[in-house]
Symmetry: C2
Subunit: 459 residues, 2 copies
């Protein structure tokens, strides 16, 4: 057994030089996207007006197992990566568990999360194609911040449609994006047809992620040399985020450790899919059989209570339809504080793997999540993002089970980011004002009722 | 020449096991503190009611060159340290300078700054002596946050007197401290005599750091098993913060690099004294002669326009008097956004070294500082704290000079922390609403007029 440090950083030489594409090892592929205009499977070219070609190709490519990370992306990764693999010695001691707990911490960059890993890749490929400007939407703001950093680095213009209520409630998130040079617009806005229409109907609306996506897509397709980018759900995003799991596995290999359980929080799947990638590969290829656990909020339980069905990726219904675990694109998640997990659907790749029995899912209530977050902060000194704290909750629960059974399991979880911009949520918890929200079956049924009909595929 | 990585992290084995005490190599010592009750040099025992004994000893000990870092402190350091030494390849490229720029980044912990290095030490020694509770004050909140983390880790109660105007304007900073279990009280408060008196005179006052210090000291000396702690200025703080410079030097040694110029921002001196410690040692012992530059705000220019004189460390005049560069304890700095640099005095050790010609000092205006901060963020992706950006400004200025002269100088600067809680300042800069404040000679004279009279020493 090697001496285990608190924090292990790979050297630059040890950092992965390729991303890993999970689809190459899946026995059954995720169902193809459906183009709503034709009701036929989408082709790579169908995506070109929205995504740059390299990304459209990555979105559709199920064959290439390892994708070389371009040198320029590697260079920018080196500015903030590798992220540390941390042994939670203090948390273990406080819990009195025989379990060994490791976590991969992605919060040590200005975006405060793992989102930067894909933002850099998406900005780079756009620039390579001669694209000069990108559009995107942001809710809580981590994705918008990450993309602002990437666009500043590569010299691209960026327009971020920020859900109006967030724009007003989180002026500091907006200010971070502006510091990096992004043009941040409260959505709905008068800069798009869809925005103007929504404002005409309801001038006082606070906006929604669905509306912001629609505005960002419209802006991209109607502006020369401009493309739209998205921070989760997509296959390309899981590919880029595989850097998390590859680094984690390389570090654990150095320590001669292998996890019995791998745990990640699940919103659209960007972090979870990235973290588990090399371990899922071991499962798919029969090399090992770790338990893999997705953790989602009880208020937005797409894995645990959703349907595996074709649905739109956005509430505005402008995107292709994907087969995934979904609560329906019309489902309105309650005001859970983990904004990054308030998404109706789930990565089609992860949905397929879950459907086929390769992973488990649990849902947790947010008061239990914040209880874990504050406990973790006091013992490990890191203030976690509410999203990340879902994984902490599940990891602590597994470690407590080990205490009861005496099993010395090795647990790895993803700590996706920091909670500096989520202190209103922490305050609500500390002051006892946090509530739990669990949708009723009737709430869910309303979402399912809005699932699209696709002739011959989904009636 | 070694291959230079973007980020270099020492291994746990390479981390320093001892702090370095600059005084042991100073040919002339800083003047002794004066006890205002006796007007005589303060003795170690005089400090026992306020500081725990180990820290009082460190405060007075000018002999011990290297102080072993207790094992328990090393263990907590390992949770968030080592901090990276970063080569600013992108900044160099953007500036087109032949200079090599390195920075030591202390912002990757929840306190967001280097303050945690001393908070841990101070909490540890208090606990070792059987102290159960600490008090302190905080303005901008980084010190209070750091101490909250340390007290949560060591199981000590903590009461933080937070300047009322900050308490009201920065509820999220308060929330972070509360998350770590600290009792945060808006100062002035009704929990102390001095607080009640101030409130009686002016019920609507927003408070001041001086008042908060007075409350924290009163609370400490009037509560059983309680001591007061302070995050800057003190000799003990410089000792603990030497970890910054020792790590930086160890990393640069591995790269076979030696700085021609070492640059740090200067408020009370905690970061500057820590960063420069091993390089100042080389100067004091004649081993090398790097330039050492302190950077302070033009609005609070203690080095560049202050007097080298005995003064109180607080505006409430309850502390011992120290000989230092000071603007007078009654000097009210203007509303500069770098809250951590709005201090009237300067570490007595650094003051003596500056007085004896071992270092230089420059002052910079805050609009120039934020110009550097946003430029740095766009190229290096880290959003710096306004305090840290003072060092960035000076480093960029030196690198630009190198461009003009063609000199390939090696520059090392301290990036003390992140600016996530300073976005109001960034917004003011981006929107063109930031002003520069430079005190007039008359402003300064009012501060000097309040310097204490000490019979036979300072008339």
């Amino acid at each position: 057994m090697k001496k285990i440090p608190h924090r292990l950083y790979l050297t630059e030489e040890q950092m992965p030089k390729q991303w890993y594409n999970l689809r190459a090892d899946m026995k059954e592929q995720p169902a193809p996207m459906i183009n709503p205009a034709t009701m036929q499977p989408a082709k790579e070219e169908d995506l070109y007006p929205v995504f740059c070609q390299a990304l459209a190709h990555q979105e559709m490519d199920a064959q290439t197992r390892f994708v070389d990370i371009p040198q320029e992306i590697q260079e920018m990764y080196k500015i903030y990566r590798p992220s540390p693999l941390i042994r939670a010695f203090n948390l273990e001691k406080a819990l009195g568990t025989p379990a060994k707990i490791y976590y991969k911490f992605e919060g040590n960059n200005t975006s405060g999360s793992h989102k930067l890993n894909s933002a850099i890749a998406q900005a780079y490929y756009a620039k390579e194609q001669g694209i000069t400007s990108l559009t995107t939407e942001t809710g809580a703001g981590q994705w918008g911040t990450a993309l602002s950093e990437a666009c500043a680095y590569f010299g691209l213009d960026l327009t971020v449609y920020m859900v109006k209520v967030s724009y007003q409630q989180k002026p500091y998130r907006k200010a971070v994006m502006q510091t990096f040079g992004a043009n941040v617009i409260a959505s709905p806005s008068d800069t798009t047809n869809v925005g103007r229409q929504i404002l005409q109907n309801d001038p006082n609306t606070g906006g929604s992620l669905g509306c912001a996506i629609s505005e960002a897509v419209e802006k991209a397709v109607s502006t020369p040399n401009t493309r739209y980018v998205l921070g989760s759900v997509l296959n390309q995003v899981l590919l880029h985020q595989s850097i998390i799991g590859l680094e984690a596995k390389a570090a654990m290999d150095l320590l001669e450790e292998y996890p019995d359980i791998v745990i990640g929080c699940a919103g659209g799947g960007s972090n979870l899919g990235g973290l588990i990638a090399p371990y899922m590969r071991d499962k798919l290829t029969g090399k090992a059989d770790p338990r893999i656990i997705a953790v989602e909020p009880a208020s937005c339980p797409s894995f645990t209570r959703g349907k595996y069905a074709y649905d739109f990726c956005d509430t505005g219904k402008v995107t292709p339809m994907a087969k995934m675990y979904t609560l329906g694109s019309g489902f309105i998640p309650s005001a859970n504080h983990a904004g990054g997990l308030r998404y109706h659907g789930m990565s089609p790749i992860l949905s397929k793997l879950y459907h086929d029995g390769y992973m488990e899912a649990v849902s947790v209530e947010q008061t239990k999540v914040f209880e874990a977050a504050t406990y973790f902060a006091k013992h490990e000194t890191i203030l976690p993002a509410p999203e990340s704290a879902h994984a902490i909750r599940a990891a602590m629960d597994e470690a407590i089970k080990c205490k009861e059974t005496g099993e010395e399991k090795t647990i790895l979880f993803g700590l996706t980011g920091t909670g500096y911009f989520d202190m209103a949520a922490y305050t609500a918890f500390i002051e006892g004002n946090m509530k739990d929200y669990i949708p009723t079956d009737a709430d869910l049924q309303r979402g399912f009722d809005g699932l699209p009909k696709i002739p011959g595929i989904q009636e």
